[in-house]
Amino acid sequence: MKKVIRPVLRHLFLAFLAFVWLIPIVWLFVTSLSSYKGINTMHFFPDKWSIDNYVQLFTRPDTVANFPAWFKNSFIIGVFTCMISVVFVLMVSYAFSCMRFASRKKLMSFYIILDMFPGVLSMIAIYFVMKLLGLTNSIFGLIVIYSAGSGLGYLICKGFFDTIPLSLRESAKLEGASEYTIFTKIVIPLSKPMIVYTVINAFLAPWMDFVMARLMIRSKDPVNWTVAMGLFNLVQRTLVGDYFSVFCAGGIIVAIPISVLFLIMQRFYVEGITGGAVKG
């Protein structure tokens, strides 16, 4: 008897947890299919179903919502941030992990300390620096902001490089390979999980961040906004009554590129987070 009950209880418990975790997601989904535009406070499921919110999102951009443009902007920012961040992190990690030069440790500690300053604090100053360079109100400026400081996040990747056997690099050196060759032909091919980890993090940043974007992009025309900025704007007090279900539809659509990225890289992601830590 006990043998039957315990597995059932175990799976019932998991099912209950999964249920709790999925409630908001399900609500997001069903609300996005509601024909009522505001927040439904009385019933969990909508009274009338329709796909009008999605249609509105893609075909009827108005003065506060222009989803296709937001999506395009965020996508461009995501792709470029991703590429620059990956290159920067790999470069800094290789220099710190595999090369020995004067004041290496000094620079490493300096970078770690720099990384500890609260980002929210320097935001205002970054705005003034960008204004000085004439890069506010532009997608290019946001790419610079998201990717330029990425070299500071070298710690995990360096830990990973530290675990690559020294003999591998030394034998390459004996064969006459330069550091550049070792970096591009040996170390980079070995660090796939690290690259995946950095790609995911860097690609997600512009989809999640609305504070920095709102500060940098002062344009009142929604064509210039990013997805995060635009969706955040839709649930502000004055708009939420007319746009809440549109916001939900937007949330569902945004999940698509992120899920696709996850599905492709899920296997690497788990390896990537822990790969460096497990070995060292």
Binding site: L14, I112, L121, V129, G149
Partner: protein
Amino acid sequence: MKKERESFLRNFIEAFTKGDIFTKLSILIFGTGYVARGQYVKAVILQIVQVLFFVFTFGFSLNYMSKLGTLGTIQREEIFDPKTLSKVVNDYDNSLMILLCGVIGIIFIFLYILLSLSNVKACYELQCLKKDGKHINTFSEDLKDLFNHKFHITLLTLPSIGILLIKVIPILFMICIAFTNYDGDHQPPTYLFTWVGLENFKTLFTSTSTVTFGYAFVRILLWTLIWAFFATFSTFYGGVLLAKFINDKKTKFKKLWRSLFVITIAIPQFVTLLLVGKMFSDYGIINSICNKIGLVGFLQDIGLVSKGLSFIPFLSKPGWANVMVLLINLWVGIPFQMLSATGILMNIPEDQLESAKIDGATERQIFRKITMPYVLFITGPSLVTAFIANINNFNVIYLLTNDYVTTNMSYANSNAKEVDLLITWLFTLTNDYSNYKMACVIGICVFVISASLTLLTFTRMIAGNREEEFQ
């Protein structure tokens, strides 16, 4: 570290005293040392750098640096000119630009001095090579070296320029602001601001009936630490337990369960958090359900909800809101922890588990004595990082308590709320009240807390020679 700096200076002095006339001259005119040894291209490049620096300093930043002492004296005035019938603005000082460009100018001077010192050293090395009759690199050989022995220079240059632009300059600038009176009443370009010394730090620790920063600061600091502690450990243990539960041999459909939890990660945090915030709002869906099943009445009877309210103040009353953000954070954080813990659990050496089983250990013993220590050993450093990340966890608090209004005047006077972390308080101060000076003081405090925590745990990792242990 000190030794390194000393030897850098000593090397320079040695190079400078023993160098010949060309080496000595190279401190004033960068190219001379290279011209004398036949490295013409390098000489031209360095000369151009030097000229550019002088053009920048004398043409641009010196103008601002000279006013750094006062941060400007001439206030902006508009005078109506009756002749042209238009407003004329005087040649005013902009304190903000003076501070920003002054900081940039000083950084450039600092870099210039470093460059000129190491330049003399490089010229001296060339001089020695020539004297000994050894081979002096041609320009193309120097370029090749940049991809071999000096590859780190090539690697670090671009990232470092980015860090200088996005991190170093803003941080120095904001530290300076903490010592000025830059707030809503002193906003450039219309008004000037100036240095006030340690005045703002004093304000942070005073509590009177009108200035309540001291009152709010102590309480918010305490709540920040409590929040960081509980948020870090609750999600950590929750994540490990869940991963353990799912990975157990007796659990069927492992992949299905895992993906059900991972789905919540796929939707951006700001969407789910705003949504959950709306669900738990005073007249939101959770409250109408609680009303229907009579939970509100029950809570009123046992005194957890005051009689005057017809809803449960999940996110709108102190106490309630503090607990709710911690609970909602579980919802956000556990799937992430579950994912990374899954990877770690899979790597636990099988033989240890097997031998423990043979020795007759129960499952709970195995979990407590083998699994947990192993997981802690691996994730220990990342727990510190997570703790600091939680001190700076802006999104969860800001998005959930966006509509929270405090009724405590002592908090309200300093623009704070009971559920604020230092970081969200700082953001409200700058974004809604333009109180930059106090925000910067708070920012410095946050930095000191995070930095001392990190230094306590990480110094061993950086200072020791552990990094080569596994190669």
